[in-house]
């Protein structure tokens, strides 16, 4: 049995929070995406990445292997780890889709920010369950 009684917490301060929201608003009505870098469960930097999906960026994002490598390299340069990724859901609630689930990686934190009519709204964080059956919502903490 996985030990999942306690919600995982991701620490995201006002600066990081603002960066993610701004990126989501800038790319609206397209989805934005980027990497979360930090140590432990504290995000210390974001890396905005190009959305390279061929399926239509209004509804999809895709980080290519090359960009993934950039993100991991950047994490190493900053002396941190790659903690996960963020992306926006333009005009859609901040909860993961089946597509998100199908493409999720374990242990990564997935931040989703809802952007409604160009303005960022709810922001949530999700972690893939070990059996890949679903996501578990985590807690975003502003400290």
């Amino acid at each position: 049995m996985p030990e999942t009684t306690k919600m995982q917490t991701l620490l995201v301060d006002a600066k990081i929070d603002g960066e993610i929201r701004r990126h989501g608003e800038e790319t609206y009505p397209h989805e934005c995406c980027g990497a979360l870098i930090g140590t432990g469960n504290r995000v210390t930097a974001t890396v905005a990445l190009a959305n390279t999906t061929e399926e239509g960026p209004r509804r999809r994002f895709m980080v290519r292997p090359a960009d993934y490598r950039v993100a991991e390299q950047r994490a190493t340069e900053l002396g941190g780890d790659l903690l996960g990724f963020y992306h926006s859901h333009p005009d859609h609630p901040a909860r993961p889709s089946q597509y998100d689930l199908d493409h999720a990686w374990p242990t990564f934190a997935y931040i989703i920010v809802a952007v409604a009519s160009g303005k960022s709204e709810a922001m949530t964080v999700w972690y893939l369950k070990e059996d890949r059956s679903s996501f578990e919502e985590g807690e975003l903490n502003g400290n």
Binding site: E55, R59, M62, W105
Partner: protein, 491 residues
């Protein structure tokens, strides 16, 4: 002949936190097989259920993607470095998903015929539906629980919209009292099984739809098997045991429940049991005490109300299928037909929910009659003929014999206006606690309502107040009319 494999961050928990490990093999396929044998936790994340590498898993041999080499047959040797590199993808639900639902087994989307394209043209020109959405509707399989007040509009709109397979579970026969709201059935259908009547209407409406009838009472024994082939379950039931049964079966199978319920002038709707959303038990962990909430047969329902709520259920079902808009997940809609107001309550998934919580205690279907405190028919049987009940025929015999019996009708005044037993006294159930003093405990009292439920409660109350000679009329006024006085109208 060990080859070095670089492990990306998210997979390091499965390789003892190492960013590089070694494995043996002559090809990439062999190498990965060896890797996942040594580190078994990797398997589910690298391979899908069919044993193929997941589409977002990229394997590079010395900076070259194996898709452009010989895929998994790409040869490797000791000096090579193999990297596992994630593509990170995601996004809001789109046409590639079925909302938060996934069509079972990634069913191939069927093509639309020329006739269908013409029929669905008003859908096809909506960008949110389009050809792809319409093909998803055609691929979708939806099960309606009940072909009554809610089931009627649900099934009709789903059929009209082109949902490819519509299942209906029902075992009832059309009755005149259904026609005020159950618009699938018409006057000539009275006496026919509801399934037959429903199928005729739906097929006439849209011959492209496959209507599957399940002539059975839904039970803990058959629910999982019945639900299995369907993508979405639409709950149109009118009682608590079945409602909990539908909810639990949906959670267990991971199928969304497009929920609706109606009573008098008030309706409710939500979408329960999606992966991340709450279920009916997150809202109501326990059923109300039996008898507290009367059924529609007892409490009445405005005929148009199931039309409104059923249409909301059909609407949400279609949205889940095409993946458009914001589903009614985590939101509980309450509609008041008299005030013409919709209210929306936020619902959260309860981590302690006994069915969908983190540590569920209900992992298989239970006895829902017992859970809801409803007496099953086998328990009721020995009660009849006891000294606490009297049948319509026996009551008639005793009255004819000249026995002095005080008949107390505990229904509402508007019901009393429709029909009554001659000489009865009207004291509505709600007034009994303050008006029982009007009754004489030394009298022999017969309490009566429409079918016997409310009067049983009145009898219990009177006994608790020291009345020793209280009889409940079994089957209520309806049985009285059937067996003794057919001249009176029924409702």
């Amino acid at each position: 002949m060990a080859t070095k494999i670089l492990i990306p961050t998210p997979l390091r928990p499965f390789t003892d936190k190492k960013d590089a490990v070694e494995a043996n093999g002559k090809t990439v396929g062999e190498l990965l097989a060896d890797l996942t044998t040594k580190h078994s936790g990797l398997k589910a994340h690298l391979y899908n259920q069919e044993g193929k590498l997941r589409s977002f898993v990229n394997i590079y041999v010395n900076d070259e993607d194996i898709r452009y080499l010989q895929k998994e047959q790409t040869p490797v040797s000791a000096g090579d470095t193999v990297s596992i590199i994630p593509s990170v993808a995601g996004g809001a639900p789109t046409t590639a998903d079925i909302g938060t639902v996934r069509l079972q087994a990634d069913r191939e989307l069927p093509e639309l015929t020329k006739d269908e394209i013409k029929r669905y043209s008003r859908h096809l020109i909506l960008p949110e539906v389009g050809m792809e959405g319409q093909r998803k509707l055609k691929a979708a399989k939806v099960l309606c629980i009940g072909a009554g007040g809610l089931g009627s509009p649900v099934a009709m709109y789903l059929a009209a919209a082109g949902v490819g397979t519509i299942g209906i579970v029902d075992f009832d026969v059309v009755d005149f009292s259904n026609l005020q709201r159950q618009i699938l059935h018409a006057t000539p259908d009275v006496g026919k099984p509801k399934l037959q009547s429903a199928k005729e209407k739906l097929v006439a409406m849209n011959p492209h739809v496959n209507v599957v009838t399940h002539d059975t009472a839904l039970s803990s024994e058959n629910a999982l098997e019945l639900f299995e082939p369907y993508d979405i379950i639409v709950d149109g039931t009118d009682n608590f045991p079945t409602r909990y049964l539908v909810n639990d079966a949906c959670v267990i199978l991971g199928k969304p429940n497009a929920y609706g319920s109606i009573f008098r002038f008030e309706g409710q709707a939500s979408v329960f049991a999606t992966k991340e959303g709450p279920c009916y038990r997150c809202l109501y962990p326990e059923p109300p005490p039996p008898g507290l909430v009367p059924s529609c047969a007892e409490g009445g329902v405005l005929g148009v109300l199931p039309g409104i709520i059923g249409c909301i259920q059909a609407n949400e079902t279609i949205k889940l299928i095409i993946g458009a808009g914001e589903p009614l997940i985590g939101r509980f809609l309450i509609f008041d037909a008299l005030r013409m107001k919709f209210r929306e309550l936020k619902l959260r998934k309860d981590p302690d929910c006994p069915v969908c919580g983190t540590h569920p205690t209900v992992t298989k279907l239970i006895d829902y009659e017992q859970f809801c405190g409803v007496q099953s028919s086998t328990q009721e049987a020995p009660m009849s003929g006891s000294t606490t009940e009297i049948s319509a025929v026996d009551l008639k015999k005793r009255l004819d014999r000249g026995d002095v019996l005080k008949i107390v009708d505990v229904r509402e005044p508007h019901e009393y206006e429709i029909n009554r037993i001659k000489g009865s006294t009207l004291i509505p159930l709600g007034d009994i606690p303050k008006r029982y003093v009007e009754l004489d405990p030394s009298d022999e009292i017969v309490v009566q309502c429409k079918v016997g439920g409310r009067s049983a409660k009145a009898a219990d109350f009177l006994r608790s107040k020291g009345f020793t000679r209280v009889l409940n009329l079994t089957g209520g006024i309806l049985d009285w009319i059937d067996k003794v006085d057919p001249s009176q109208p029924k409702y």
